[in-house]
């Protein structure tokens, strides 16, 4: 069981000591070319969460490899590189560039950013192309905003992903109280924070049942109890996002709270709690349960 940051929620070079408190650092998504990101305002706090429309601001893969990655490697914490693109070939190219680099522990495929246009259509195609380009562990990050996230997870599984990152943010809108205009320049943005937790838990639960793949669970985790619930739903690791903005020391706190929570349930190792919420963890039974839920 590892504690990571959610991609885009920490800059390890600006706050190295916080990155070192994680079991692995996940970079902000890197794209083939540099991106400025969206116009400000890019963030808006709402009840029980926040919206962001950063828009995959990043220096591009060339600058990332020549400037950022060597400095990240000095931090002595495993580096997961999040990659994103606008067509299938982008993902293959990015994975190919990272494949031989010993300082890259894993690659996260961001196929679900809500803040950019031109999202590629097929998760299966992207994963297959990435798989063909790298032997690195591949984690595919999915959106919960889909009719059946488990079906998408299965497609990623068939295409060769090693694990899943669940979930990305979900589109939300906030209006200014005086003008009734959108508070973000891009109008809608990715909604994160405590209100995302039940949505994320449902995705983890369904995808674990459907694939049994390793899952990095994320979405509103702010305490050890939250982390335990994600693990019980099927996550083998957890990532912290919005909570890092208000409490940069959350990794250490969540880790120690999780130990106490596990003790309450008589579990000594978090790995032994993975999937505890599944009474019948066999994939075909879980699918039948989903069907029953829909029909009732």
């Amino acid at each position: 069981m590892k504690i990571l940051n959610a991609s885009g929620c920490l800059d390890a070079l600006t706050a190295p000591e916080i990155a070192r408190s994680l079991d692995a650092f996940v970079t902000k998504t890197v794209t083939p070319l540099a991106r400025e990101g969206n116009e400000p305002p890019r963030i808006a706090e709402v009840e029980h969460g926040m919206l962001n429309s950063i828009g995959l601001a990043n220096p591009g893969i060339d600058c990332f490899l020549s400037i950022n990655l060597p400095r990240l490697a000095e931090l002595d914490v495993p580096i997961w590189v999040s990659v994103g693109g606008f067509e299938v070939a982008d993902y293959a190219e990015l994975c190919d560039r990272l494949d031989d680099l010993p300082e890259v522990a894993a690659i996260e495929l961001n196929v679900s950013c809500p803040n950019v246009d031109n999202v590629p259509a097929s998760v299966g195609e992207i994963v297959a192309a990435a798989r063909g380009a790298t032997r690195k562990p591949l984690f595919t990050k999915l959106s919960p905003a889909t009719a059946d996230v488990a079906e998408v997870a299965q497609a990623a599984h068939r295409a060769g992903t090693d694990g899943l990152s669940l979930v990305n943010t979900i589109l939300g809108l906030a209006l200014d109280e005086r003008t009734l205009q959108p508070r973000l320049s891009r109008a809608a943005g990715g909604f994160s924070g405590p209100a995302l937790k039940p949505i994320a838990l449902a995705a983890v639960h369904a995808c674990y049942a459907a694939t049994r793949l390793p899952i990095v669970g994320m979405g509103g985790i702010s305490s050890g109890r939250d982390a335990l619930e994600f693990i019980a739903a099927g996550a083998s690791s957890v990532a912290l996002g919005t909570i890092l903005f208000s409490d940069p020391r959350a990794p250490d706190r969540v880790r120690s709270e999780l130990t106490k929570e596990l003790t309450k349930f008589g579990v000594d190792d978090p790995d032994n709690a993975i999937g505890l919420s599944h009474a019948e963890p066999a994939p075909h039974l879980a699918k039948a349960e989903r069907a029953a839920t829909v029909s009732s």
Binding site: L33, E39, M50
Partner: protein
């Protein structure tokens, strides 16, 4: 809050060259700026000593604990009760054993902070950002509205230089009591009408005021604000254009040199 896109021509801090990416916008990007890791900051759960009314604002005094007071113009992230994100506040005063913040109750977070009672707990992260350069020969402090907030602490550090404060109304102008001796003007008179020439200006206030001050004094140090989620460089929410490059105000600022703001 209004978008903050600055047309500054002069870079703040060292700018490493952008990568060889062929993207059209690549010459505007410096990601990240590894030469500027954040200085040491810490987070402390402390408690409210007093909450004092100052005109329409509230001066929130908290126990300092182990927090450093930092350089004038630096800011702290204050946990807002019941809200998911903390709020950035520049330090107003640093009496012994305390930190004091001047807060304008303009939204749910700042209203919650202003409603805190003595003895209640509050988590604070800081000090953050760069702060004002204090190596100035003829300092003049210029503040507008809630922009008076960082000036009392700054005034202490500079041994009480002259100051000009502008406010919308006489009620707002009650905040001038935090900076005794300051010249006070009230709308429709503007601080730029009252600013004497030939000084090293250190200013904080609303965006139009900062732009106007920058046009008069290109070397002025201006403290800006932008929506922030984290305050320590993690979220990229406070990105602004500095010297034609997209940078984070919380890391590169909030104090920026005004050179050619009017460009």
């Amino acid at each position: 809050m209004s978008p903050l896109l600055l047309g500054l021509r002069t870079a703040v801090g060292a700018a490493p060259p952008a990568g060889p990416s062929p993207a059209p916008a690549a010459n505007r990007l410096v990601f990240p700026d590894p030469s500027r890791p954040m200085s040491a900051f810490s987070r402390e759960h402390t408690s409210v000593v007093a909450s004092e009314v100052v005109g329409p604002y509230t001066l929130l005094r908290v126990k300092r604990g182990r927090l450093e007071s930092g350089i004038p113009g630096q800011f702290f992230m204050l946990e807002a009760p019941g809200r998911p994100l903390p709020r950035p506040m520049s330090l107003c005063l640093a009496p012994p054993g305390e930190l004091a913040f001047l807060i304008d109750p303009i939204g749910p977070g700042t209203r919650a902070l202003c409603a805190l009672e003595p003895g209640e707990g509050v988590s604070i992260l800081g000090p953050l950002g760069n702060g004002y350069r204090l190596d100035v020969e003829r300092p003049l402090l210029v503040g507008g509205g809630i922009g008076v907030a960082p000036l009392p602490y700054l005034s202490e550090a500079l041994n009480g230089p002259p100051a000009v404060l502008g406010f919308r109304t006489a009620t707002h102008a009650e905040a001038a009591e935090l900076l005794p001796g300051a010249q006070v003007v009230v709308d429709p008179i503007l601080v730029t009408d009252a600013m004497p020439a030939g000084h090293d200006v250190l200013a904080c206030g609303p965006e139009p005021m900062l732009q106007a001050v920058g046009r008069l004094e290109p070397a002025a140090q201006l403290a800006w604000e932008a929506p922030m989620a984290c305050g320590y460089g993690a979220c990229y929410g406070c990105a602004v254009e500095i010297d034609g490059e997209i940078r984070r105000l919380c890391v590169e600022g909030p104090v920026l040199e005004a050179e050619a703001v009017a460009a």
